[in-house]
């Protein structure tokens, strides 16, 4: 999946804005948004917020987690923890990118926030690389990825699943010599081998 497709899914998460206009609700197929009253905060899908912001029709209120102190704490936690820490938002990277990208003027200390989110992302990326290597070394055909966000999961695709597919194929490719014929169909034989480290 391409990152912009993950972003597409993340854009549905809600974010608070302060509109500069008055308007009746918008009746989206995906649910009503509004009514809008100038200066009264309201929650809208991220893609709506970004579009309104680009037209100078609102201020975006940063999500609670987009706060330097909280992020510092999160970064330390991520650093000291061997496993992945649960992120405050399932789409933190997408929210950060889109909100900081268009509403820097609404958010204090944008640069610091941007840097620290990137730090957290980098720490997690490096953990991901070691986990992938571990998994391949053990040829593990199962892994829990509970605290990974969709964008992070997508960052190890296709490499990890494809490498495991190939390991499985090498492992199970044990057709008996007698019933083999060149260029048969691609069905895998069901026979198995006892080699490989136990997962």
């Amino acid at each position: 999946m391409d990152p912009d497709e993950v972003e597409f899914l993340g854009e549905k998460s809600l974010v608070e804005i302060v509109p500069t206009f008055n308007s009746a609700p918008i009746y989206f197929i995906g649910g009503d948004v509004g009514p809008f009253r100038a200066s009264i905060p309201i929650r809208v899908p991220l893609w709506v917020a970004v579009n309104l912001k680009k037209q100078q029709q609102c201020k975006i209120i940063p999500p609670d987690w987009m706060d330097l102190e909280k992020l510092e704490f999160l970064k330390e936690e991520e650093k000291s923890n061997k496993s992945f820490v649960k992120m405050p938002s399932d789409h933190y990277m997408i929210e950060a990118k889109l909100i900081l990208g268009c509403a820097a003027d609404d958010i204090p200390k944008t640069d610091e926030i941007r840097t620290i989110i990137k730090d957290i992302w980098d720490i997690r990326m490096s953990k991901l690389r070691s986990s992938m290597d571990d998994m391949i070394k053990k040829s593990a055909m199962y892994a829990a990825v509970d605290n990974l966000t969709l964008m992070e999961i997508n960052s190890i695709r296709p490499l990890l699943p494809h490498a495991l597919d190939q390991i499985y194929r090498i492992k199970t490719n044990k057709k008996a010599l007698s019933n083999r014929s060149q260029g048969t169909t691609s069905t895998l034989s069901e026979s198995r081998t006892s080699f490989s480290s136990k997962t």
């Binding site: 391409d2 912009d4 497709e5 972003e7 597409f8 579009n51 680009k54 060149q182 260029g183």
Partner: protein, 198 residues
């Protein structure tokens, strides 16, 4: 060696991914000839093995030759079909990317069977798209998630007149720039007429 030529057909394809090399009529013909000859020979040998052997056929002196011969036919056929199959796969993608009319210089690289197949595929595909929902749905559009309603594009060639859905007519000249609804120019971007300016 048997099936060497057939394998050369495959090597030709493997050298150019995502472009279609000219249909190699001559080599295909040579492979067909090899198959035909081997097949005839196998039939002859097979008859001898079947007739002569009072015991099991594999005791016959010609049995090893027959085994090798039929393996060679199988291999030749595999390469021949794979050559054509993979070309159709590329052609299929071309229908999605170029639309139902292929550029002339690509057309000249196709066999007449392939041109016929392309027309057939194009028709089935169009029929399928028309059948979706009440008004049909063009699957060659909306390839990426929408980001903004309007985008800036640069025209890469003298294209001529282009009508927007509201009836406005634009004259598209090389290097001209336009600010247009994304949905209206996506197809021309895919076809390389427009370049999306970010």
């Amino acid at each position: 060696m048997f099936a060497e030529k057939a394998c050369n057909l495959i090597k030709e394809l493997s050298r150019c991914e995502e472009v279609l090399p000219p249909y190699h009529t001559e080599l295909v013909k040579e492979v067909c000839t090899e198959i035909k000859q081997l097949h005839e020979q196998n039939k002859e040998d097979g008859a001898i093995v079947a007739n002569e052997s009072s015991i099991a056929g594999y005791a016959n002196a010609l049995y090893p030759t027959l085994r090798i011969g039929s393996s060679a036919v199988k291999r030749n056929v595999r390469c021949l079909l794979a050559y054509h199959y993979n070309r159709l796969k590329t052609l299929r993608t071309m229908r999605w990317e170029f639309g139902s009319i292929l550029p002339q210089d690509i057309k000249t690289n196709l066999s007449s069977d392939e041109i016929e197949w392309f027309t057939k595929y194009s028709r089935s595909f169009a029929k399928y798209m028309t059948s979706i929902g009440e008004n049909g749905l063009n699957l060659c559009l909306d390839l990426r998630p929408p980001k903004s309603l309007y985008i800036e594009v640069k025209c890469l060639m003298d294209y001529g007149k282009f009508e927007l859905s509201d009836g406005t007519i634009l004259l598209l000249k090389k290097d001209s720039r336009h600010y247009l609804p994304r949905s209206e120019c996506e197809e021309l971007i895919t076809q390389g007429v427009f370049q999306h300016i970010v």
